[in-house]
């Protein structure tokens, strides 16, 4: 088929809650995070109704990645320490993780890897909020999950087409849907009232040069994606390393020694977190 009407695609994606096959937890969650006036209490209430979700959120914030292992005991406490936006992003990612694993084997590992590499890069570049870049890394490929949920058969075919033609999943998506997972996730993250910088990172991680709100953060997620693919951790739809954007490369100014340092930290953390998030 190919060349779906982008407007129809966008409408269908934005009304994801109306699609019967969407898991109910994601529907409820999207209603919660869609509300720009959501309060800390409402988030806590929603999460506390679901013990499995509570456990997963606390597990994630208490993992060594955040630097305060074993000290956050409640969702309230997490929101205070990390901020509402980071917790919203984490909530979405833990819910999406389960679906992610079914949608594309290896995408969860890829996403965790990109989150870790993004955080390490953010720290290296002296960013004040490395957790926010971590969340951007965690969610950068959420559009792939959305596409598999909304168009399961088409997406399956797209992955097979990419493999058969030896092209990237990004190009195969564009051939098939006229738009890509990055755009899809961008639309939804705006609808979900994610922070503007986070939307920018997610929507532009394949073309960091157009980012206006968060050029450095977007360059970081772009680079993290490339490094994780280069190392071959997880699977994100193809086995090809995309070319680094020259402007992003210049912005980051990484030497070979920096790259090796990041890879080393990535390797150590991935080994540990894969266990933690598997439960």
């Amino acid at each position: 088929m190919g060349n779906m009407d982008p407007k129809a695609l966008r409408t269908r994606v934005e009304n994801i809650s109306n699609i019967p096959t969407i898991p109910s937890v994601l529907k409820q969650l999207s209603t919660i995070i869609e509300n720009p006036k959501i309060s800390l209490n409402e988030i806590s209430h929603f999460v506390s109704k679901d013990p499995a979700l509570t456990t997963k959120i606390l597990q994630m914030v208490n993992s060594a990645l955040y630097g305060f292992p074993g000290r956050i005991s409640s969702v309230n406490h997490a929101v205070m320490l990390l901020g509402l936006n980071v917790v919203k992003g984490l909530l979405l990612s833990v819910s999406v993780f389960e679906i992610m694993h079914k949608a594309m084997i290896g995408l969860r590992e890829h996403s965790i890897g990109v989150a870790i590499a993004s955080k390490v890069l953010a720290q290296k570049k002296g960013l004040k909020e490395p957790e926010e870049v971590f969340v951007a890394g965690l969610l950068h490929d959420v559009g792939k999950v959305i596409l598999t949920l909304v168009y399961p058969e088409d997406y399956d075919r797209t992955v097979k087409e990419a493999e058969a033609a030896g092209i990237s999943i990004f190009d195969a998506e564009r051939n098939h849907f006229s738009e890509t997972h990055a755009a899809v996730a961008g639309w939804l993250s705006e609808k979900w009232h994610f922070p503007k910088k986070l939307c920018d990172c997610i929507a532009n991680h394949h073309r960091p040069q157009v980012s206006t709100l968060a050029p450095l953060e977007t360059a970081i997620v772009h680079m993290a994606d490339i490094l994780v693919k280069a190392r071959g951790l997880g699977f994100s739809g193809d086995n090809l390393v995309p070319e680094v954007n020259s402007k992003a490369w210049e912005t980051l100014g990484l030497a070979e020694a920096d790259l090796r340092e990041i890879l080393k930290e990535l390797e150590d953390s991935v080994e540990q977190t894969e266990e933690e998030f598997r439960a």
Binding site: L58, N62, A64, P69, G70, R71, S73, I226, L227, K229, A230, R231, G232, N239, L240, V241, P242, E243, V244, S246, W249, E256, L259, R260, L263, K264, E267, D268, E271, Q272, E275
Partner: protein, 98 residues
């Protein structure tokens, strides 16, 4: 940092990560050196495996990892920035095998 099954722990090994119970309480600190007594304590906690200091060797042979690295970079060989990234990853992989 390899994850070692409890039955393969030996005195003298050091914990690479703190040992925590399910609610996150630290039971043994990072860097703790294992003794026979501590190993049996860990066994009694019902823990399956723990992180131990030191490099962990990948399960797959080095040649296989390097060959798939070449395949992943096949389309971007001409780009000097990508060549640098590939070099760093190759050295990183080689270092994992010591």
């Amino acid at each position: 940092m390899p994850k070692i099954p409890v039955e393969q722990l030996k005195p003298g090994m050091k914990l690479a990560r703190p040992l925590q119970n399910s609610s996150g309480m630290v039971l043994m600190a990072e860097g703790t050196e294992l003794t026979e007594a501590r190993i049996s304590k860990i066994e009694n906690m019902g823990v399956d495996s723990v992180f131990i200091d030191g490099p962990s060797r990948p399960a797959r042979p080095k040649e296989e990892l390097l060959a798939s690295l070449d395949r992943r970079f096949a389309k971007v060989e001409g780009n000097p920035d990508m060549a640098l990234i590939k070099k760093a990853v190759r050295e990183h992989i080689e270092a994992m095998y010591g």
